[in-house]
Symmetry: C2
Subunit: 336 residues, 2 copies
DNA sequence: TTGTACGCGTTATCAT
DNA sequence: ATGATAACGCGTACAA
């Protein structure tokens, strides 16, 4: 491996000069600078980020923890974050926590040892003692999509209540009066928001939501399928369903078709997220769109501002709330 | 930040002893070891991977370059790799190259500076001069899914020719004789393999493939859609299509439905990859399955064996070829 | 404008 | 079993 010292020896210069030249310091003669850079190029010099990081106390890496890159919601988020990071010379280290606190903790520790310059969390919202210590330490941190309860941290998210409101208004506007909400876990903040907005919209149309039609479940296809299979057998009066996310909605579609429902003829379904697969032929799900890629970008921007910003900015926590949008496709229609 | 020196001072020990204790060296008294570890815990000590990496000449990170995490083929691959890496105490740094050589090069450089202990490439197959230098340097490297042409490197992949063969046999076995192959770029090795195997299977059924029915395109939905929209208008005799991957297949489905074809009644379609969305209700694509997650795991395993293995193993390049499998769903049926 | 010397936190090689 | 010290490669305060 060729180091700064090697270049210095070759050129009969001190290695501080070489170091300065390679960092384009203004304190070094233009000509020597050129010579040094050329020689560095020729010798195939490559800075050692480990050594540099050790003295500068930073790694040039930012960490990101998500539940599962295999879940279609997260690739876009991660991609947005990576692009923004790369644009400012940082690498992005993405870790999967599987919605598991122990694993999340393990990742945070491992990642901290790597001296990542900051951390983006799109992970869990459950209590994580270790994470709270990290927050107290004033480690640069940005939460995305899900806000950690009860602490003052930077955040990039979406107005979930408005998202739910859009869904409710759409369904009610089509004349649906017997509607269900099929969720993931109701402990999750963003689900609570969607639910609240949904009910609010219904109320505006004079519909009182039947609370027994709020079905708790998980955030995946299988859960949506199972819950609605049961639901539709018991309640044949339902004409519209709002799913907590698109994965759940896809499960609902499957269940409904299996029971012989035509969509949207007999049953309207609206999802949430607008993930990649929702626009596919044969699915074409009506849903609430959120800018996943942009959220990733903004999270990195916020984080880097916090890291590199003036000192008085560092303690300033920021929040960015994006506005979701209704996307009408083919799984919703007028009520019979 | 609390360092080894802090602990040493507090305990009136030399920091070599502390370092040894924290690494559970057998050269240190059991009792002092316990004391040291407890004190480290109490003070909230956390090793500095930068410093350790500098002296050990390794970072505990392995790099992975993929085209785009947003493309449904790659999340599973990345996830498999991350799990395997984590299991052995490594972090995985994933970078997106967008099928762009300049970007790929930039990533490789940035990643190398970070002193990643090895590199997994699932990226491009085009000539990349810089990458060739890296290969020459004997940097630990594993190629996944796509093999870089003409060099002796470790590789984890799938028997693409057999995959194509399975597709051909399935279609021909259902009685289809007028079939098309709708591809991504034909320069790509794995596509060539699929094509070759496909034709071979047809030949076994006495079908001579009409070469004008091999349509080149890109690896995405839009391309599949456009190509087949044109194709089906010109050639109404086609009853089966083999798509270079599932994304293309989805585009084909859309085009066919738009033209009023019933699937599989009028037209059978078979894809390749079995990505997440292929099993969804409304799609249910017949396809060739490859173990993406497992490929990621194996790539990491190979790489770490190469890195940590005995010296005589280091130069030994290995190749693992997985066997694909036919998954029959609802887009293929008997020919009319 | 350039050079000298120190420190970043850790491990490894000598001693003791 | 423990300690002193040198190294890893780099940036920078200070001196020249």
């Amino acid at each position: 491996m060729v180091t700064i010292k090697d270049i210095a020896r070759k050129l009969n210069l001190s290695y501080s000069t070489v170091s300065r030249a390679l960092n384009s310091s203004s304190l070094v003669n233009d000509k020597t600078m050129r010579v040094i850079k050329e020689e560095a190029e020729r010798m195939g010099y490559m800075p050692n980020a480990l050594a540099r990081g050790l003295v500068l106390q930073k790694s040039g890496i930012i960490g990101m923890i998500i539940p599962d890159i295999t879940n279609p919601f997260f690739p876009a988020l991660a991609r947005g974050a990576e692009d923004a990071a790369l644009a400012r010379g940082y690498n992005l280290l993405v870790c999967n926590s599987d919605w598991n606190i122990a694993l999340e903790t393990r990742h945070v520790k491992l990642i901290e040892e790597k001296k990542v310059d900051g951390l983006i969390l799109a992970s869990i919202n459950l209590q994580n003692e270790y994470l709270e210590k990290v927050i107290e330490r004033e480690y640069p941190l940005v939460f995305v999509s899900r806000l950690y309860p009860g602490v003052n941290v930077s955040f990039v998210g979406v107005d979930t209540e408005y998202g739910g409101y859009l869904a409710g208004r759409h369904l009610a506007g089509l004349g649906h009066r017997k509607v269900a909400f099929v969720g993931g876990s109701f402990n999750v903040r963003s689900v609570q928001g969607r639910y609240k907005g949904f009910i609010k919209a219904l109320a505006e149309y004079g519909i009182e939501f039947d609370k027994s039609l709020a079905i708790e479940g998980e955030f995946n296809i299988e859960s949506g399928y199972q819950k609605v299979l049961t639901l539709l057998k018991e309640r044949t009066d339902i004409t519209g369903i709002f799913a907590a996310n698109d994965l759940v909605a896809v499960g609902i579609i499957r269940a409904a078709r299996e029971l012989g429902y035509s969509i949207p003829g007999d049953l309207s379904i609206i999802g949430y997220d607008d993930i990649f697969l929702s626009s596919l032929p044969g699915i074409e799900l009506t849903t609430i769109f959120q800018e996943k890629r942009r959220m990733g970008e903004l999270a990195v921007k916020l984080l880097l501002d916090e890291i590199n910003g003036k000192k008085h900015l560092k303690k300033k926590k920021k929040r960015i709330i994006l506005t979701p949008r209704l996307i009408v496709r083919k799984t919703t229609g007028p009520s019979k």
